[in-house]
Structures are given as C-alpha cells and as structure tokens.
C-alpha cells in the first residue's frame, strides 16, 4: 500500500470530480426534458408519434453508451454539411458531445420510467378532474405530472446512479473526469489498487449521497 500516493492523488481526483458532477447534472437536466417529451409522445394516440418514441428508446436502451458517444463524437464530424452549420461549434467539443450522448441515453431510460408512471395513474384521478370541469392542460400539469413524478422517484434514483457511472465514459473521448484522471494516474504510477480505492471511494460517496437524497425526497413527497 502506497499511502503517499493515495494522499497525493486525492486532491487531483477531487478536482476531477467537479467535471464528473458537471457532466452528470447537465445530462440529467437535458435528459429529464427529453424523457418527458418522449414519454408524452409515447402516450399519444397517433401511431407515428408513438412508434417514433418507442423506436428512440429502444435504440438507445439496446446499444451500449460507448457506441452512442463514439457515433456522436467521431461519427457526426464526418458529415460535411454539419461542419458548415452553427451546430459544429458544439459538436467539435468532446465535452458537449459527451453531454449530448448522456442526455439522449438517460432521456431514453427516463422516458420509459415516466411512461410507466403515467400509465399507472388511476383513471379515476383524471376522470375526477374532467368531471370538475378542469381543462385537460391543467389536469396534465397539476394532476398527472405530480403523481407521475412521485411514482417514478425510486426508479429515477437508480437512473441517476447509473448515469453517474455512465459519466465515466467521458474519459474515452479525452475528457478528464474522475475516471479519466484515475486512469492517467494508474498508467503513470502503475499502482492500480491505491488509485482504485481513492477514486472508487469518491464514487461510492457520491452514490451514497444520491441514494439518501432520493430517499429523503420520497419521504417528503409521501410516496406509498
């Protein structure tokens, strides 16, 4: 055990954690928006819209996240047309490519979580709203969405933890996140166990916080 290395690498790994957390939070925000849009599309009665949303979530859940990042980072740059548009300023940055891939990926999973939450809402709630003469827009925002959020919290908590682990793939497109820095230190010092303990400890700590935060939110919202 090389304690010195562990102590020396801790600050470096901790500053890389900031990148990890930034990637995580941005992807979760975008992912939630994408997920909500696709969940609503999935519930639509229009076959085309419905199938499109199903296809989206099927493709993103059926392929590894690594492939998705590589397609976006290495693949999209190949399209000449894209290079001339304003989109290129975003797509040439590995940081934004990673965020796009993560957001689409977590969006696909989130849409499934929200869809099942929407579907388990008792029709009685919506009927009660209708019979009270509340407009369907208000029913959606004030009845369906709050209930769906409440019901999907435990599953969404798992998704956040999966996404935290997913952000480690940013290191494959040259980003120095927690895993990226850990790999760099391992490959320069050849002390994998020590670095694994420190970096793994940070990840476990983050998982622990997320887990408890979701538990607290569940309690606050009074699930069950």
């Amino acid at each position: 055990m090389d304690l010195d290395l562990m102590i020396n690498s801790f600050p470096k790994l901790l500053s890389a954690t900031v990148t990890t957390l930034r990637l995580l939070s941005l992807s979760l925000v975008f992912g939630l928006i994408i997920g909500l849009i696709f969940a609503v599309m999935r519930l639509s009665k229009n076959r085309l819209v419905n199938n499109f949303s199903y296809g989206f979530s099927y493709v993103f859940r059926g392929t590894p996240l690594l492939v998705q990042i590589f397609i976006i980072y290495f693949g999209l740059g190949q399209i000449e047309y894209l290079r001339s548009t304003i989109l290129w300023t975003i797509l040439k940055e590995p940081y934004w490519c990673a965020i796009i891939a993560f957001s689409l990926n977590t969006g696909a999973y989130t849409s499934e979580i929200l869809r099942s939450a929407f579907q388990t809402i008792k029709p009685g709630f919506i009927e009660a709203g209708k019979s009270l003469g509340i407009s369907s827009k208000i029913i959606f925002y004030k009845i369906q969405i709050p209930i769906a959020i409440k019901q999907s919290l435990p599953a969404y908590g798992n998704e956040i933890i999966l996404m935290l682990k997913g952000t480690s793939l940013a290191s494959t497109v040259t980003l120095m996140d927690l895993t990226g820095v850990a790999k760099y230190i391992i490959s320069t010092t050849f002390k994998p166990v020590e670095v694994f303990i420190v970096a793994g400890g940070i990840y476990l700590f983050l998982t622990f916080i997320i887990h408890n935060f979701i538990k607290l939110a569940e309690k606050k919202m009074g699930t069950n």
Partner: protein, 230 residues
C-alpha cells in the same frame, strides 16, 4: 457496402469475428457472474454478520463504482495480482494475462454483483411456508434446496436475470479499452483505417441491437417455460 466485403477488400470477416468475440465474452462473463453469485448469495442470506458484511461490501462497491474503473483495476492490476500469488508458490517469472480472460473476469465480477442481488431477492420472495413445509416433512436440506427452493427461485429470478444479461452484453463494449478485439474495438480499428467512423460505429450499434433483440426473444421464451402453471 463495399466496406463490408469479406476477405482483404472489406471488413466483413473481421467484424463477424468481432461479433462472435462479443458473444463469447458476454457468455463467459455471465457464467463467471453466476459463479460469483452462487458464492455470494448464501453469504448474503446467512445470519453470520461477518459473512453478510463481505457480500454486502462486494455488491455495494461493484454496483456503486463505474464499470470502466473496475476494468482499469483488473487490466493494470490483474497480472500483478496473479504474479504475487504465483511468487508465493515460488514462481517468479513474468506472467501476462490474456485480454479475453481479464475482460471476461472484469465484466463477470460486475455482472456477479447484479446477479447476487437478483438471486437474493428471488429467494427472499419465496413464501416462508415453503421452507417450513419442507422442514415439517423432514426433507433433507440438500433435497429441499434443489427440489423445492431452486425451481421456485428460478421462476422469480429469470426475468431479472435477463436484465442482467442485457447489461452484461452492453458492458462488454467497455473492454475494448483493454485491446480485446470485440465489436467496439474492431469498429475503432476499421474507422481509423478507412476514415469512415460514422458508418462503422453505426454498424456496431446495429450489431448490438441485433444481439439485444435476439437475446430478448430467447429469454422471453425461457421465461415462459419457467413460469408454466402460473
């Protein structure tokens, strides 16, 4: 399409080998994972606090740490650990471990943590009465375990186990970082030499989709088979 020709012109045969490699690694990893869970599930259910702690430690750490980090640990530390064990037996030469073994072992450890949780959940959701009935009938422990508990556990475990399989299958893409030539690595090589990453990575995505689709169909059949009578 020329890029997919077989032989020296295209990448068809290379990609096919890589495709088979992904299947081989996934199956090996899943198998190692199930072996791990056969060891750790009883520990998890045991009343001994220390054994309990060991297996909780295993599942918590592996499920809370990114897969890539576990892979790096085994990739950089694997041969060191094996050499350390070998040196205790008086063997001091350099040992290099094959990428296939490191890769399937790393993914196997990860998949084992998930399978352990699945088996634990399945055993715990078997009705207590079943255990008591076996004891009341005076069955031997081995018989009641294999004839009563395991068949019921499998029915409950298979749907979740098929989820673990899907996760394992997708995780194998990560061992491309160790240089094992599976779908992802081969696409990376092909994309680099043809300068056509969009095509090759999309094709890789398609291959993974085929794998997940086909295995879902097979696993659904298996699920139906084990839930006969329910």
């Amino acid at each position: 399409m020329e890029l997919l020709y077989f032989g020296s012109k295209g990448w068809g045969d290379e990609l096919l080998t890589a495709f088979l490699m992904t299947i081989a690694v996934s199956i090996t990893a899943m198998f190692i994972g199930i072996l791990f869970s056969i060891i750790f599930t009883p520990l998890k259910l045991s009343k001994n606090k220390i054994l309990n702690f060991i297996s909780n430690f295993y599942t918590t750490v592996i499920r809370g740490v990114p897969e890539l980090l576990v892979i790096y640990l085994l990739f950089f530390g694997g041969s060191g650990a094996v050499m350390f064990v070998a040196s205790m037996f008086g063997y001091n030469e350099y040992i290099e471990i094959n990428a296939f073994i490191t890769g399937s072992f790393a993914i196997g450890i990860i998949s084992g943590a998930y399978s352990t949780e699945v088996f634990r959940g399945a055993i715990q959701s078997i009705d207590r009465g079943q255990f008591e009935a076996c004891k009341a009938l005076g069955f031997k422990k081995i018989i009641y375990f294999f004839k009563v508990i395991i068949p019921q556990m499998l029915r409950l475990a298979i749907p979740n186990l098929s989820n673990v399989w899907q996760i394992t299958l997708k995780d194998t893409s990560l061992i491309s970082v160790t240089g094992l030539v599976e779908i992802m690595r081969q696409s990376y090589i092909a994309a680099g030499s043809t300068r056509d990453p969009l095509f090759f990575y999309s094709f890789a995505a398609l291959l993974y989709l085929i794998l997940t689709f086909v295995s879902m169909k097979i696993l659904n059949k298996l699920e139906n088979k084990y839930s006969r009578g329910f």
